[in-house]
Structure formats: C-alpha cells, structure tokens
C-alpha cells in the first residue's frame, strides 16, 4: 500500500497526542493534582490510532479502564478529557466520572469502563441496535487480555456471531492484567485462537506496528460494515508503565520493561517515517512541541475550571426524576 504523507503524519500526530496526554496525566497524578485511578496507554498508542483511522464519526466504540488513547483517537477533546481527570464541571462527565468513565456519545464513544469486560455486552447491544436499524455503522470493542478470561467475553462473541453483528473485537494483549502475566492466567498463547469458538475470523498482529494495525482493522471493519459479521483481532503490545500510576510493579523485571521501550510504537513508526523521508528531526520537534503545548493548555484549562457544586451530585441519574428520593 502507498499512503499519503498527510495520512501518515496524521497517524503520527495522534499517537504523539496520546503519548503527551498520558505523560501529563502521569505527571499531574504524581504531583498530587489528580485523584482516583489513572491507567496509562503508553506503549499501546498504535492500536487505538490504527483502528480509529478506519472509523467514521458515527461509528461506535466501547473502551476500558485504560481508555484515554481510545478517546483521543476517536476525536475527543483533550480539554474536556483533562477536565474530567480533574473532576471539573467542564469535563466530559461534569466531574462525575473521572478517568475510568469518560464518554462522549456524540462521537460514538460509549464509555470507558471500570469493570473488566464490562464494555463487551454494551458493544454487542450497540451492534444489535445498528442491525435493527439497518444502518451501516460498526462497533469496535476494545478490551484487554485479562478481559478475555471473563464470562462477558465469551457470551459477547457468541452473541455477536450468531446474529452476524457489525462488531470488531480488539483484544489489546499487553502481557499483563494488573499484576498477573497473561501467560499465567490465559490458557493459550494467542487469544485470537479463541475466534474458533465462535466461527469468526481471528488474527494476531503486532500491535506496535501502526500500519499493520491499520490494515487489519480496515479489512475487518469493511467486512463488518458489509454485513460479514464480527471478527477478533489480537494486537500484541506491552504495557510499558505500571498498571496504574503509582503501581509498585513488584511483579516484573525492570529489564523486561526496558526491552519493550525499544519496541514502542511511536519510535517504531518514526523510524519508518524518517526512512520514507516524510519526517525529519525539525518537523518531529515541531509536532511534539505543538502537541505538548496543546496538552499543557488542556491541563491549564482543566485546573482553572470550576469544581462542581454539591447539587450537581443529585442530577443526571434519570432524565425524569419526579418522585425519586435522592
């Protein structure tokens, strides 16, 4: 495939944006600015970016506790994201959700999810809804290797298969589920082999190679959009940072982490872009600096945004709350 420079640089910029957002979130958390749990997507940027480059605005995704990358790649506003991490009224959830519950239904993000596997049944429902409406949208469900051992995974893939729903299941196999290594808790090497159980295509790819991700996602999304039904893509990657910011990481060797820093997706792609002469050091620097500025401004916007007032806690549960006793 031949790709335009614009296209490739956009992919690059999105990855950089995710990276900088995450680095800022990490910094702010460690400085005590943010509360709750922050799960960083650092090292996994190619997956969200490569997949989302194939989606329309009116397509849907469900995300996970590690959802910032998915949001940004689907087009979310980093100001409102950062404000949500800060718990401010200008945040995506008016400060009621926090990192693990950011959503933007207007761009098809049906929510991060604090429950491992929790997004899968929702994605199936979105697919079912699309099918009932006879629309041509698709749904992409992101989830982790750990989630692939939950009952929700199994029920969702079977369900999606029998009704041929327009769904793409993307398992981000980052080698760990919290402190547990994937090897230890998952009976097989390649999670995509589980596709056999549902009679759907399953493929394992290098999730750190954005072009590979883009191409496979393209194929499976096209298939789903045309009525071919669901598929399972396993994107192998590595969670370079701790499970959450502050994780003591007692369960793995520092060496292992260092090794994977060498294979991380942004540098990998950069190398390619340099080879293709689509990027040079000057341009690269500019991209990073521009983005860092954007993210810094997002943090500033967030920090300066108002803290929600108490009465905010007693709204939004229902559309119609007459008679409800808060």
């Amino acid at each position: 495939m031949v790709y335009s420079k614009d296209f490739l640089l956009n992919l690059y910029k999105t990855m950089v944006k995710i990276r900088n957002f995450e680095l800022m979130a990490e910094k702010l958390f460690l400085e005590g600015e943010l509360l709750g749990f922050i799960h960083l997507y650092i090292g996994e940027e190619a997956i969200a970016t490569g997949v989302m480059a194939n989606l329309r605005k009116d397509d849907f995704i469900t995300s996970t506790h590690r959802g910032h990358g998915h949001m940004i790649a689907k087009g979310a506003d980093v100001n409102r994201m950062m404000a949500e991490l800060y718990g401010r009224t200008t945040g995506y959830c008016k400060g009621k959700g926090g990192s693990m519950h950011i959503a933007d239904f207007s761009i098809g993000v049906l929510g991060a999810n604090g429950v491992v596997g929790g997004g899968l049944p929702i994605a199936v429902g979105a697919g079912l809804g699309i099918k009932m409406k006879k629309a041509d949208q698709v749904v992409v469900a992101f989830f982790g290797d750990g989630a692939s051992n939950t009952g929700a995974f199994h029920e969702s893939l079977n369900f999606a298969s029998i009704y041929r729903l327009p769904l793409i299941f993307i398992v981000e196999n980052n080698h760990y589920a919290s402190t547990a290594s994937t090897k230890e808790t998952t009976a097989i090497e390649n999670i995509s082999d589980r596709a056999v159980s549902y009679g759907i295509p399953g493929v394992t790819i290098d999730g750190n190679d954005i072009i590979v991700v883009y191409e496979i996602a393209k194929e499976m999304i096209k298939r789903a959009r045309e009525g071919g039904g669901p598929s399972l893509i396993e994107a192998k990657t590595y969670r370079i940072k701790g499970h959450f910011v502050g994780d003591p990481e007692l369960y793995r060797d520092k060496k292992e982490v260092e090794e994977f820093w060498l294979k991380e997706p942004i540098k990998k792609f950069e190398k390619k872009l340099f080879e293709l002469k689509m990027l040079n050091e000057v341009e690269k620097k500019k991209i990073w600096e521009n983005n860092q500025k954007e993210i810094k401004e997002a943090a500033k916007f967030a920090k300066e945004s108002p803290i929600p007032s108490n009465k905010e806690a007693l709204t939004d549960l229902f559309v119609n709350d007459s008679g409800y006793d808060y």
């Binding site: 009621k96 959700g97 929702i122 429902g125």
Partner: protein
Amino acid sequence: MREITFAEALGEAISEEMGKNPTIFTYGEDVAKQGGIFGAYKSFSGKFSGRIFDTPISEEVIYGSALGAALVGMRPIAEFHFADFLFTGIQSITLQIEKIRYMTGGQGKLHLLLRGPDGISNSAAAQHSESIETIFMHTPGIKVIIPSTPYDIKGLIKTALREDDPVICFEHKMLYKTKGFVPEKEYLIPFGVADIKKEGNDVTVVTMSRMVHESLKAAEELEHEGISVEVIDLRTLVPWDKNQVIESVKKTGRLVVAHETWKRAGWGAEIASVVQEEAFDYLDAPVIRVGAKNVPMPFASTLQDFVTPNYKDVINAVKKVLR
C-alpha cells in the same frame, strides 16, 4: 369493560407500543417461539417479524446489550426468564445500566425495559422462586415497577415504553393467568402513584404484586370482624408514593407492610423506616412487616407455604398492630 388476563394485558401493552414505535424490539430466552416464558407474547407471535427473537443463555449480554441498543437509539425490551437469573448477569444492570448516565454526566437516554417473572409458583424451589426487587431499590439507577392486576400492568408497561429511563418490571408468576377488567381505550399509569385497592380506616396495609391479593383477602376477612383495612398497592417501588402512604397512616395510625420477598432487609424495612421517621407522632403502634422467612425457598409445598407469607400473615399482622 372486557376481562382479560394479566399475561394478555402485558402482551397488549407491548404489542400496541411496538405497533406505534419501530424502535422497540424484544428478546430473551424462549421469547419468540414459545411466546415468552409464561406466554405473554403469544398474542402477537409472528406479528413483528425480526423484532422478537430468542437468545442464547447469556444473561450478562442479554441485559448489557439492552444498554448498548438504547445508546444507539433503539428501545429494547429484554426478558430475564426468571428473576433468579438476574444474578447471572446482574453486573450489566447494577454496574452499567444503573450508573452510565450518571457517570457520564447525563449523556444519553436509557430507554430500555427489563422484564420477567418472579416469585413463587408450584414448588419451583430455591433457584426459581425469588423476588429480588429490593436490590434494585437499594442500588440507585433503575425504576422498578411491580404491577398486581391486568389493568395496572397494561398501563405501567405502556408508560415504561415511553420513559427515557431504564425500567425493570417484575411480574409474579401466579398472576399471569389472573383476570381483570381492562378498558379497550388507551390509558397510561404514571410511575410513583400508588393505587388504593381498598379504602379503610383502622389499619393501612402497604403492599405490591401477589401480596396485594392476599392483603385484599385479609381485609375482607377482617371486615367481618369489624376491622377496616386500607390496602395500598404501591405499583411502582422506585419511585414509591410516599405521600399517599403517609396520608393513609395519618388517617389510620397503624401500618403493616407486606411483601413476598424475604422480610430481612426487604423493601418493607425501607417503607417502615421512612414512615416511622416522617409520621412518628401519628403511629399508634409499631409498623409491622410481613415477609418471607429468611431461608431459601424450600421445595415441598407445605414448606413453601410455611415460608411464604399469605393472607393469614397479613391478618395476624393487622391484629398485632391493633393490640
């Protein structure tokens, strides 16, 4: 007015709304070919092609998919087969459906309806006899309706199918075949409005579902003894009609709350607590609760009868508050 069964009234409500609103569809285990586990969908089987279908035994996805479908603009009705099996997929309700609108700062409308049978039947035993509505009163985020008559279920289900909030409806197994008057003309019943099924002056009985009928039977018997019982059917548990209950207690000074679910930490405790808090000075006697004994439902019918409350328990409770 014509008389139809509870199951037929339910079927009518769904069928009428499906006829009007193309975004409604309904699914679950044994829904399509059998017409619903207790036959409620029979009357319109074959009518809404593609909009009624059977699913695998995958409760977490049955309930969770209702959420997803609502978010993309549809209005799903998912059947839960038996209330007991809500437990096999309950995270989709308590952690997702109940929370997503709030967590996302009010994004989206969750127009979805979960519905199905609960309660005892003929010795269905511990895993097929539960009533677990209290859990959905305790965990915030879903509206709970529990009709006791054909008239009520038709009006409440129709309201539910026009609501923009998630609703769960519990239908007592022993009610499906009961008959009652239902107008041909369309009507809706609002949520949060209790129905005084029988007026009275001496004691208020607050109840729902099958226990409404047991309470009416108790009231009738007590009438012979000169005791006048007011029977209030809440009809919806979230929200519940606190005002009417308190008004009634102000009149009678005595309250019994009767439900089939376990007495301990059942919703009767909530009603009792609120009433004693807000109408303390009007109460001439403690609020007495009638509920199942705190054990799983035994199989043998004598034991089931012993564990499950009936009109006699209501009578005893009424007499107790009158002492």
